[in-house]
Each structure stands twice: as structure tokens, then as C-alpha cells.
Symmetry: C3
């Protein structure tokens, strides 16, 4: 028989796992909403270990955020020219202590580039680590393993309609 | 130390959040299965506040269901001509009382239109509200913010294979 | 008022549902990582009831795994030629006893075939059954209902970039 104390601890653990999922969901939404503030705040303050494959390896989220801004916020004649979909699936989160956790996810990524008129479609898996920093879960490591990607011309007649972005 | 009563309340809250997620999952499945009954039943009986962007703004789910039927059930020579994917991701649900809640989601949407031979791909985020009506969670508000969409010709050689639909 | 014992049972049920979700997530990741061992281990040892529509009907996961290997591991001149995305969404899991459960999911499937230079995009819903076998949740039934699929030529200029696979 479990005590109510034990139930409280198990409920706390479930709450932590949900909080980590929400962190990742906010992060992916921020990517596609062109929101560098929420993007940056998803990582620990300093020293995050990030390996995004072909996009590069980083030992701090500031450097990654710079790359993010260069791509996501790039404009030509006042209009955005690069549009992303970061859609995260298949979570598998494991708490390793009260303030640390690991996680696996699958990403479906798409990028429309109006400059070279291409579409890139990519999939792969994340191996993450998370820590609590000032009371909130943050990503401390994010290692991406690409399974495969496909790049192709957008072709004649494609029309990109930009909607609402944060910036 | 938490009491067992408190554990029961927290478990009830987790159950409610899961029920809301299942509501949305049923709704999206109904969209693509061409099932207007389940589609309509996902919303409150009257007065739902719906803003689906370019698709229109509605102050009741009956009007939205009519538009859904006009599109999803459209046939030419006895065959469906419009095929959708509504794939929902990135849930973030907050209970605001025992019978009300809010939620954020990301949508990946695709539509194949055999009449004008186009494919539309779209992504954006939902800001939802939910209420319990006659013991079941329903959508009372659904506000969609489009991030971007891409429309393009299907091109030569594309073949659409219809499967099984509810209607 | 619920007893702490009851809270323990409800928490156990939530843990089981999460374990089933993780099983499916591992399964889909294994599909796209070309990992037949994890693929096979997702099903019961013998007698799984599998209906994958056009891909075939199977009364054991060994036969399905053979088909999986024929497709996913096919090489020409030492290079893989078929690349999949199995992205699962919209879970709805119901425990039917301490060791049995049912589930519904939506699948977004994509296959790039470099031999015939086509892309296939497909969606549909799973009706699953799960059982505990030697202490672990496994799929005992997996019935897929296809909604629709689209096959088209990859077109000129498409470039497939293979990443890292398990085998």
C-alpha cells in the first residue's frame, strides 16, 4: 500500500514531465513564430550543449539564437524569405532527479526558402537533457540525429502566404 | 505533506486535461474522416467563438459545420474531390476551474484539391477555450493564428487514392 | 473521499498509459531509423493481428518484420533507396484491465522511393490492442484504416540526403 505522501511525490513527477513537454512545445512554436526571446529562454543561461547536425554545434544558446535570427528573421525588401515548420512528436521523458531529466523526441522539419526557391523536408530524433534553473525547466543539451532529408525546387506556380509572426 | 484528498483532486485535474486532449484528437480525426457528426459534437451546443482565419469567423459551430460539409463532402461524379490532413501537436492545457480550461496547440494542415489540382500546406497555432457541457468537455472558443501557408499545383503524374471515410 | 490506495491505483493507470504511448513512439522511431530489432520487439511474441491495408494483413509480427526489412533495408550499390517518415499523433488510450488496453492513433506517413523516383504521402487511423507480456506492454493488434494517400513523381532536381540509421 502506498502512502498519500508517495502519491504526492508521484504526482509531482508527472507534473514535472508535463512541464518539460510544454517547454519543448513552446520552443518549437517560437521557432516558427519567429520569436527569438522565447527561443532563447528555452535553454539554460549559459553552457548549453547543442548539436543540430548540419546546422552546427554550439556550446551556448546565445550562438544558436544568433543563427536562428539570421535565418528566421532574414528579410529582403522588408519581407521574410525563410519559413519553417518545426513539428515535434513521440516524447519519451525520464526524470533523473528532482531537477534533472532526459528526453527523446522526433522532429518533422520543413523549410521554405524563397531566395533559392527550394523546399527542404527533414526528420530525425532528439536526445535532450533538461535542468531546473531558477524554478523552471530549461534545455541543457539537445543532440539531433538526422535520419534523412529531401531538398527540391519549389517549382512553377508555388505561392507562399505569410501570416502573423511575433517579430 | 499532502492529504489523499489532495491527491484525488490532482488526479482529477490530470484526468480532465487528458479528456480535453482526447476531445481535440477526436475532432481532428473527424475532420479527415469526413465525419460531420463528431465534428459538430466537439463544440458547445450554441455560441462557440471560432476564428479560422481565411476560412472565416463564426459565432456558432452550426455555421462552421456547414462550411466543413461544403468542403469535405463535396463530390463530383460521385467521388470526393477535397482531401485534408489536420494534424495537431504541441498541446499546452490549463484548467481555469472545475469546468473551464484554455489550451494552445499547433496545427499542420494539408489540403489536396482535385478540382483546381492544387496542394495547400499550412501551419499555425490555436488558442482554445473549453467548457464542460452535460458532463463532457467541448470547445467553446477556437482562435487560429496562421503562421504561413504554401499553395502549389499538384503537377503532372500525381495520383490521389481515396481510402475509407465515415460518410 | 478517495483513499491513498485508490490514488496509487489511479497513478498506476496513468503510468501504464504513458508506457503504452512510449511503446508506440519507440516503434515509429524504429521504423524510420531502419531498426528491425526494436520494430519486432514492439509486438507480442506470436500471433499479433496486423492489418496494414495495402501493405498486407499478417497474423504474426515475424511476417511483418520480414516485409519491413525488405523495404526499409533495401540497398542498391550499397545505398538505401527507400526512406520513410512514420509520424504518430492523436493518442487515445483506454485500459481494459491491468494487462490489456486499446488505443486509437493517427498516422502521417511519407515514403521516398529512389527506385521509381516517387513520393507517397498517406494518412489514416490505427485501432490498436496492447497486452503486458513478461512485464512489458506490447502491441497485440494493429488495424490501420487509410483515409487517403497521394503518390507523385519526385520531379527534377530533388536531392535525398541520408543521415544516420541504426543498421
Amino acid at each position: 500500500m502506498r502512502s498519500s505522501d508517495d502519491a504526492g511525490r508521484r504526482l509531482d513527477a508527472l507534473d514535472q514531465i508535463e512541464a518539460i513537454k510544454r517547454l519543448k512545445h513552446r520552443y518549437w512554436r517560437a521557432c516558427d513564430a519567429k520569436d527569438p526571446v522565447t527561443f532563447r529562454a528555452s535553454f539554460i543561461k549559459s553552457g548549453a550543449r547543442i548539436d543540430y547536425g548540419l546546422l552546427g554545434t554550439f556550446d551556448d544558446a546565445d550562438a544558436l539564437t544568433e543563427v536562428f535570427c539570421q535565418v528566421a528573421l532574414l528579410t529582403v525588401d522588408g519581407s521574410y524569405v525563410i519559413f519553417d515548420m518545426h513539428h515535434g512528436l513521440h516524447p519519451d521523458i525520464t526524470l533523473t532527479s528532482g531537477t534533472t531529466a532526459t528526453g527523446r523526441w522526433t522532429l518533422q522539419f520543413r523549410q521554405i526558402n524563397l531566395l533559392d526557391w527550394t523546399e527542404t523536408l527533414m526528420t530525425g530524433d532528439y536526445d535532450d537533457a533538461y535542468v531546473v534553473e531558477e524554478g523552471e525547466w530549461k534545455m541543457s543539451a539537445c543532440i539531433f540525429t538526422e535520419r534523412w532529408s529531401l531538398r527540391r525546387p519549389l517549382g512553377d506556380g508555388a505561392e507562399l502566404h505569410p501570416g502573423t509572426f511575433v517579430t
